[in-house]
């Protein structure tokens, strides 16, 4: 109820065993590349971050890339508590990876916590989901251009819902794409729901005209003919959905990916950083990772090291400018 952002994508990222949380997971690791790895999870057991860290750890240990993985949940302050902890105890955290996602950029801009990704050592973005705009199949909004046209004519006539709070990710993506389409981003009539599923129910009950949501959450309902996906925020059409246009094709040259990835302690040596990157890179080709990935419906989007830093800087700038324009900063 109050903890909306933490629970919203639960059904994409399946939480793993709570019980394992208390013990850590031991693997065999005869010829492991890395002896041990510690995951710091800035949220409670069962959330999206938790599932990502434990799933990654499971694949790494089972594939024999990492000898032993342990996990530590530390929730509080929208992730700020774990970030502060990682910085304070950096010297002892040489083999620690902290999981995080797009909100680290948004929340640090909002000054929810004083640090940003710059105070840590970005390792890699590992999985992600593109954003999408969705309407009810019965809606008379034909395509994305039609949605934009209606919005331009009367912004109040299109209520666009999302599964995060006002000023949160779904709202920002909507404003981002509307701006790219040449419309006024500040006038978006954004309707927040406390979870993606409830937002979808709102769309189907016809109280809102469109929904801003992760592609993964909309894909199956679209296949079953309940909703229509107007566009996705990827650079190219997705292999899964060749019929769904990108927002760029529809006249809104904006890209957005909601990533999840890992950060090391500040001041990590280059050798250690490369070891982390190498271990994660090696993981993608293993059947163990494929099992975990398929089980959770995740999309591989590998974005390592310098590329990750450049990506984060770009995302921060785009979102930061937009949030200023929207009056959220």
């Amino acid at each position: 109820m109050l903890n909306g952002s933490a629970t919203r994508r639960v059904f994409l990222a399946l939480p793993l065993a709570l019980g394992v949380a208390l013990t850590g997971l031991a693997g065999q690791g005869q010829a492991a590349d890395m002896e041990s790895l510690h995951f710091l999870i800035p949220g409670g057991a069962g959330g999206g971050w938790d599932g990502t860290a434990r799933g990654t750890g499971e694949a790494l240990t089972k594939a024999g890339i990492v000898g032993k993985a342990s996990y530590e949940n530390m929730s509080g302050g929208g992730g700020g508590k774990a970030i502060a902890h990682l910085i304070e105890t950096a010297k002892k955290q040489q083999s620690t990876l902290m999981v995080n996602s797009t909100p680290i950029v948004i929340r640090s801009l909002q000054k929810v916590f004083p640090q940003s990704f710059r105070d840590l050592t970005p390792i890699a973005g590992t999985i992600g989901d593109y954003a999408s705009f969705v309407v009810n199949t019965e809606s008379d909004i034909k395509d994305f251009a039609d949605l934009v046209a209606r919005y331009k004519a009367d912004p109040k006539s299109v209520a666009i819902g999302g599964g995060s709070v006002a000023g949160g990710m779904d709202h920002i993506v909507t404003a981002l794409v509307m701006k790219a389409a040449g419309a006024q981003p500040t006038k978006v009539k954004y309707i927040p729901y406390d979870a993606g599923g409830k937002a979808m129910a709102g769309l189907l009950s016809k109280e809102i005209q469109a929904l801003s949501t992760g592609y993964g959450e909309a894909a199956e309902l679209a296949k079953q003919g309940q909703v229509r996906i107007l566009c996705v925020t990827a650079a190219e059409r997705l292999k899964d959905a060749p019929d769904v246009p990108t927002c760029k094709e529809e006249g809104a040259d904006a890209q957005f990916v909601n990533w999840r990835g890992f950060f090391g302690a500040p001041g990590l040596s280059d050798a250690q950083k490369q070891a982390f990157v190498g271990a994660l890179e090696k993981m993608y080709a293993t059947p163990e990772w494929e099992t975990v990935r398929a089980r959770n419906g995740w999309v591989n989007i590998f974005n390592p090291d310098d590329k990750f830093v450049a990506f984060l800087e770009d995302q921060e700038k785009v979102i930061g400018d937009l949030m200023k324009e929207l009056g959220f900063l």
Partner: protein, 512 residues
């Protein structure tokens, strides 16, 4: 359809699957009993274990765990006043007073029968009407949900009957106020966080429930030492602790309550934005009013009806929540969100086509719920006398245990020490308020409903461009609000009506 049901039955009734559901019920009951661990964590725990199982077997195991965890949650509410899940708060209202009276076994038995009946009746509804009920779950918009929360809040009146109307209302307002702490959903503003990082996400239900119910209760029993007389009476009461005897008269009293609460609970459960908690409060409020002034006054003091109604509705709503999940692919609650994940991991995608493309799975899921329910009853009834004996543990051991499990339960969800500090503060405040005779239940009711009520109100307002016209724009909204108003006004008017009637009657008598 019959063929599908039979295939489902055949699959579910194999020895391996029966064993699985039994194991599931057993494990689920124990997980559910621990405060902080409810159906969500119990099922999450099962997903990696069942990976690689045959889908039907895996689902059946999970159904067992699901029902087991719900039942286990009621157990801790009844025995130690520790509702670990919002859906079992109303169970504690009358279940705990019953256990205090020495009727723990009976209370647990009533809870088990009610859960079973609610779950079973709802599973039958699901069996015959699931595909056609999808429409119902999409009929409700934010405005209607707001009206529904207002209706739910009228259940507070049940606690005002003890001559403490002002105190009950004050506590409700306190609950509403506490629900506003944290990030505001409509504007993304931080409210009343006092600059603390730890309050950004608001106060968790579990923390507040454990602090004000379980912890404060345990502390109260330390503060108010029992006199020798009390102790003697308690010893006597404990003789019957494990007794599950329910008289024929009581069964007769419960039957209509169970019937009504099943129907109400199921339909509330079908709504993706409502769920088991609202269902249990609505059923509690409804039965209190239908019970009449004499029986109604027993509510909150260990009424059988007051225990049976929310337990039935809670379970019926859990089954009802499978309607939007299976027919639309929409998870309305945390538990069904996890279930959706579990189904997807078996390659089963719920939605309107599941019933057409994959009827055997569709029926296997429903049948497995039914079987889970039956096995739970068979398995748990013989255990009740032993579970109830927990209360026979000397309080010098029991109280520290309650303190320990409440604190640990909250800590293991968030892993944040701040939560422990906050719990202690709330528990001490609750003890103070209770010594002054302020009831805790309306506060928790206000807290749970307040958050949802505000969210839906703000949403309805922004959709309607800040116009309040949504309150009467749709017949559905207007009807629900009208019921809420009637519920509040009718009891106030009854004495006047009586006086009026008497007056008319007297006149008529004089005239005649």
């Amino acid at each position: 359809m019959l063929e599908g049901i039979l295939t489902g039955l055949q699959t579910a009734a194999s020895p391996l699957n029966i064993l699985m559901v039994a194991v599931g019920c057993f494990v689920g009951t124990f997980i559910g009993m621990l405060p902080g661990l409810g159906p969500i964590s119990a099922i999450a725990l099962m997903i990696p274990i069942t990976y690689g199982f045959d889908p039907a077997t895996g689902l059946i195991l999970m159904a067992g765990v699901y029902y087991g965890a719900i039942f286990g949650g009621s157990t801790s509410s009844i025995l130690i006043n520790a509702p670990g899940v919002a859906g079992t708060v109303a169970t504690a209202f009358d279940g705990y007073p019953m256990a205090r009276r020495g009727e723990a076994g009976k209370a647990l038995a009533i809870a088990a029968y009610s859960s079973f009946s609610g779950g079973t009746i709802a599973a039958v509804f699901l069996l015959i009407a699931a595909p056609s009920l999808a429409v119902v779950s999409l009929a409700f918009q934010s405005a209607d949900y707001f009206a529904l929360m207002v209706l739910g809040l009228t259940a507070v009146a049940a606690f005002a009957g003890k001559g403490n109307i002002t105190k009950a209302l004050l506590m409700t307002v306190l609950g509403l106020m506490l629900s506003t702490v944290g990030t505001d959903a409509a504007l993304g503003m931080q409210r009343f966080t006092l600059g603390s990082l730890d309050l950004i996400d608001g106060i968790s239900f579990l923390l507040l429930a454990m602090a004000t119910f379980a912890l404060s209760e345990a502390l109260m029993s330390v503060l108010k030492p029992k006199s020798d007389d009390d102790r003697k009476r308690e010893m006597e009461a404990q003789q019957n602790l494990g007794s599950m005897k329910v008289s024929g008269e009581e069964v007769k009293e419960m039957a209509p309550v169970v019937g009504r609460s099943s129907v109400l609970g199921f339909f509330v459960g079908v709504l993706p934005g409502a769920g088991a908690t609202i269902a249990s409060f609505l059923a509690y409020g409804m039965e209190q009013r239908l019970a009449g002034p004499k029986k109604g006054a027993e509510f909150g003091k260990g009424s059988i009806r007051g225990l049976s109604a929310p337990e039935t509705a809670n379970n019926a709503a859990c089954s009802g929540s499978f309607v939007p999940l299976l027919t639309l692919g929409i998870p309305g609650s945390g538990t069904t969100a996890i279930m959706l994940g579990a189904l997807i991991s078996y390659g089963i995608q719920p939605g309107p086509r599941l019933f057409v493309d994959n009827p055997s799975v569709f029926w296997a899921v429903i049948i497995s719920m039914y079987i889970g329910n039956v096995i739970l009853l068979i398995l748990n009834l013989p255990l009740i006398p032993y579970i109830a004996r927990i209360l026979a543990i000397p309080s010098t051991i029991l109280i520290p245990m309650i303190l320990f499990f409440s604190l640990i339960g909250v800590y293991f969800v968030s892993f944040n020490t701040f939560d422990i500090h906050l719990m202690v503060i709330f528990a001490v405040a609750a003890v103070g308020l209770r010594l002054l005779d302020f009831p805790m239940a309306p506060m928790l009711l206000g807290f749970i409903l307040g958050g949802m009520m505000e969210d839906n109100l703000r949403r309805a307002l922004s959709i309607n461009d800040d116009s309040w016209s949504f309150l009467w724009a749709r017949p559905l909204t207007l009807s629900i609000l009208a019921i809420a108003v009637l519920i509040l006004i009718v009891p106030m008017l009854t004495p006047q009506m009586k006086r009026l009637k008497a007056l008319v009657y007297d006149r008529a008598a004089e005239g005649g």
